[in-house]
Amino acid sequence: MIVRMAIQNLRFKRFRSFITILGIVIGIGSIFMLVSFGIGLQQLVQGEIVGNESINTVDITPANSKLLKLTSDNLDQVRSIAHVTDVSGVFIGASKVTIDGAAADLVAYGIDSLYMKLSNITIAHGDGIDATASDQIVVNTSFLESAGIGDTEKALNKEVELTLTNATGKTNVTKQRIVGVVDSGAGSEVFVAAEVFKQAGIDTFTQAKAVVDERENISDVRRSIESLGYATASPVDTLDQVNEVFRFFNIVLISLGSIGMVIAVLGMLNTLTVSLLERTKEIALMIAIGARPKDMRRLFTVEAVILSLLGGAIGIAVAMALGFIIDAILNQYASGRGIEDGFSLFAHPPLLIIGALLFMVVVGVIVSFVPAQRAAKINPIEALRQE
């Protein structure tokens, strides 16, 4: 009955209810849009950091490469640590690559298939290398530019010579076929199978990656690896720093959005207070004919919750729609400039939507507190006596 009466009251003063709801739509819609922008941007940045790479990885480098090397045996030792599911080593060395008679000095990476998967090496053209083949090479666009090759498609299947030098100074030259091109790296880089480095007599890895089963085990695994004398790093470090920045960023966004919300709440409080003043005699009558003071308190609380929930739901829907529209426009614009990968600046996790709706229920209850208490305390005799 209370809910029915509350709805009737709100419908009776349609325009006032509409204006109040509009204020709430703008208030909660602003906050929701800003928060979903913050979350979307955070997810976008996290994605760039982690990419296809699992964040449950630990990067390993020798703390003192003169004393401790990363050999296959050492990697086996790391592999035996609890919660480590796999380990992959990479060779990184200075090399020379000769293409079309021109030579360039650059960094070469000797990798295996696990390292390729973990390291977010995204092939822009062609294919990745077959880690079992020792005659395939992937180059980056910086290398092609330095070699004067503008058309990356023409670079595919070209033959190059790769010269590696081992610790003793002996060089090893191998012929490689370009099978793929990547966009990554500021300077010239090439990627070959680890086997190519081994053939050149280089058997000490420069770095390794250990894969950990669960994120919460990363700290323990790092401690174990460091106790073996290695230095460790993890994408989780960067991610934590990024999350810290975004925590502050989101607080700033919420604070800005709260300005609109405060205005909406004040509007709702004004509406309820005016409604109470207008309906003093009605409430007094109802108390006189048998309504309990708590019924009158509930009436105002229900009215406030209906206003805030309705305004909240519409505000969230409008914010989500605007987010989708902005994303669509930006993606269209980016696609026109050659960026084919779609992206989303606005994220709408279900928990955010449910949380926002619950927040609005709480806001309704809080805002209605004072008017509801005043309604419950109306003295029917005095109120009905007033002319």
Partner: protein
């Protein structure tokens, strides 16, 4: 027609109000009477004599400064505010001089209100409200809003609301105050009908001398004192008061 059983008992009741300056004024002094089940009691007094104060005390809206008000032996003011509201919903029907309505509800929904406060479900409450309107003869106005009804129609709708919960007693606080004589008589006749035919206990507050003799008991309030007059003494008192009034009118006329 009364069963003789006391329904409402007021014992040694006084009521005082604090004035803004801090002084206290005693409006009702040592009021002591009972209202029997099935009786028709009239409370009469000049304006400001304390009629409404007495009425509010006996319906559980205004706690006395001292003394007791009981309903079927239960002290009204020993109950909590919520329990007294509950008591009003189940036991009492009320008609006032200016009836207030919940503006957002139509006549039918307004008449059904006491039933909602009793916990009756919505559809049953509306059905009973419709019956109540039919008994009063204004069911054609069910879907209208009370503000569009005439004064007389509003009072009849208020009667329907007062009857909808089948109350033990009905209080009418100057119900004819804003009505013309025809509508006033109709309303009073309705109250008499409910009392004589259905045995409803009626408590009528009025300052209309002409209605004083219709009750079983007359409570005269003057300067905060309540005098109980029953039976044949009512007619004698009424005649005396009418004579006094005629003399006063003639006295003014000479001037």
């Amino acid at each position: 027609m009364t069963s003789g059983k006391p329904l409402i008992e007021v014992r040694n009741m006084t009521k005082s109000f604090k004035l803004p300056g801090g002084d206290e004024i005693e409006v009702l002094h040592n009021v002591d009477f009972e209202i029997l089940d099935g009786s028709f009691t009239i409370i009469y007094g000049p304006s400001g004599s304390g009629k409404s104060t007495l009425l509010n005390a006996i319906i559980g809206l205004d706690e006395p400064t001292s003394g007791t008000v009981t309903y079927e032996g239960k002290d009204l003011y020993a109950m909590s505010q919520n329990d007294r509201a509950h008591f009003r919903a189940f036991t009492m029907g009320m008609v006032q001089q200016t009836n207030n309505w919940v503006k957002s509800l139509n006549v039918l929904e307004n008449v059904a209100l006491p039933l909602h406060f009793m916990g009756v479900n919505h559809d049953s409450a509306l059905a009973q409200a419709k019956n109540s309107l039919q008994r009063i003869g204004i069911e054609m106005h069910a879907k209208k809003f009370p503000s569009v009804l005439s004064g007389g129609e509003q009072q009849r709708a208020a009667m329907a609301r007062a009857l909808v919960n089948n109350p033990a007693y009905i209080v009418a606080d100057e119900p004819t105050g804003n009505l013309d004589s025809k509508n006033s008589d109709n309303l009073i006749n309705l109250l008499r009908y409910l009392n004589t035919e259905f045995g409803r206990t009626i408590v009528l507050v009025t300052h209309n001398l002409e209605y004083l003799s219709i009750g079983d008991k007359l409570l005269l309030i003057e300067d905060g004192n309540v005098t109980e007059i029953k039976g044949k003494d009512i007619r004698a008192t009424t005649t005396h008061m009418l004579t006094d009034m005629r003399k006063r009118i003639e006295g003014w006329a000479k001037v």
